[in-house]
């Protein structure tokens, strides 16, 4: 290739996952070992939290999500070598955009579908829709012989 990496690291750009070139084998290994240790620790914590009886039950999902996000961060930093340095701005911006979309899509879908199930899929009793109670599964079986009431249409 005609291009060569510029020597001036201060101004250069790095690709995601790129270690700095001419890096010592040992120094690189240390980063992966730290990553492995932290990831193992966080995984163990997740599995322990999920099965323990010690913790207050509603806190468990929160703890699990926290550990998961932390572990993703560990992977990004120690395995994918993403940093907050100026040479990584574009990579981080792209990641931020992706995370935003994931959040909008996942959060939006769960929120919307929860409301639609609540309004449209509730059991029909005597022709009157009964709102679901808290703790009842989101999606009860539609009763046999009763057509579901969601409107067909959409737009465009």
């Amino acid at each position: 290739m005609s291009h060569t990496d510029t020597d001036d690291r201060a101004h250069a750009d790095v690709a995601p996952g790129d270690e700095y070139p001419h890096e010592e084998f040992g120094a690189g290994l240390r980063s992966y070992l730290i990553g492995l240790a932290l990831a193992t620790l966080l995984t163990a914590a997740s599995f322990w939290v999920a099965q323990t009886k010690v913790m207050w039950a509603p806190a468990i999902p929160v703890a699990l999500l926290t550990f998961a996000i932390a572990q993703m961060g560990v992977h990004l930093v120690f395995f994918l070598h993403l940093t907050s340095g100026p040479d990584n701005t574009n990579n981080i911006m792209a990641l931020a955009f992706g995370v935003l979309i994931v959040f909008l899509l996942f959060g939006g879908s769960v929120w919307i579908m929860h409301h639609m199930n609540y309004n449209m899929m509730a059991p029909v009793e005597g022709g009157v829709r009964m709102p679901l109670q808290k703790g009842v599964p989101l999606q009860p079986e539609p009763q046999k012989g009763v057509p579901m009431q969601h409107g067909g249409g959409g737009h465009h």
Partner: protein, 231 residues
């Protein structure tokens, strides 16, 4: 830019153009713009960065695809249709072993890139082989889990919950399968062609892919298995 006259090709002694009065908000020059290639005003980036960045945004798009499957899983989780629930089906020990295998595979893949950077062909092939073995082990455990579930009448056609479960986990498994195929291709390429720049770039993309699959797996075991087993 004050130094424009010093740039090659510029004609000295020319007064800069008059600005249009309606030209709201225009700044004539990219002040404060970095001169790094590929960003700011530095001109095109080197090929390695272009390829790495392109693959990086492909991975992000892949993660958005997973997010859609995850959203479907979250919505359909309660749709068990009287069939078995996650708590009844999931074997967390198996999942823990799978997680360990994939993590070690990811680690070995990191070692392979280190070997690649140090230009050690033997270490590279060995690390890639280890990566493959751990990955294949993960896949074998996943396949065993799937066949086991189908045998217990908990296949994907049983309920919407199981459809979503098989799709999320299976989609990740398909990615691992594709990754293993890619891994073998890269081993063969390095063997046949040596450490050529384009092959180095491909290995870089492969390692990105492999690490990203481990990140997706973190979401899988957390959202699907651990939180799913709780309900």
């Amino acid at each position: 830019m004050s130094s424009s006259a010093a740039m090659p090709g510029a004609v000295p002694g020319v007064v800069p153009m008059r600005r249009d009065p309606n030209h709201l908000g225009h700044h004539a020059a990219g002040e404060g713009e970095t001169r790094a290639p590929g960003r700011g005003i530095g001109g095109p980036a080197p090929k390695r960065i272009v390829v790495g960045y392109g693959f990086w945004i492909f991975l992000l798009s892949d993660i958005v695809m997973f997010a859609a499957f995850f959203a479907a899983f979250a919505v359909l989780q309660g749709g068990t249709a009287g069939g078995p629930t996650g708590a009844e089906l999931f074997d967390l020990t198996n999942v823990a072993i799978e997680t360990g295998l994939l993590l070690l595979s990811s680690f070995a893949c990191g070692i392979a890139t280190l070997a690649l950077n140090a230009r050690r062909p033997l270490a590279f092939q060995a690390a890639m082989a280890v990566t493959f073995l751990f990955g294949a082990g993960f896949l074998a455990l996943e396949l065993r889990e799937f066949t086991d579930l189908v045998a217990r009448d908990a296949g994907p056609t049983r309920s919407a919950f199981l459809s979503a479960f098989f799709t999320v986990v299976g989609c990740h498994g398909l990615h691992v399968t594709a990754g293993l195929l890619w891994l073998l291709t890269m081993m063969a390429q390095v063997l046949a062609k040596g450490f050529r720049p384009d092959i180095l770039r491909r290995v870089m993309c492969f390692s990105l892919f492999w690490h990203a699959l481990d990140i997706v797996w973190v979401a899988v075991f957390t959202v699907v298995y651990l939180m799913g087993a709780a309900t």
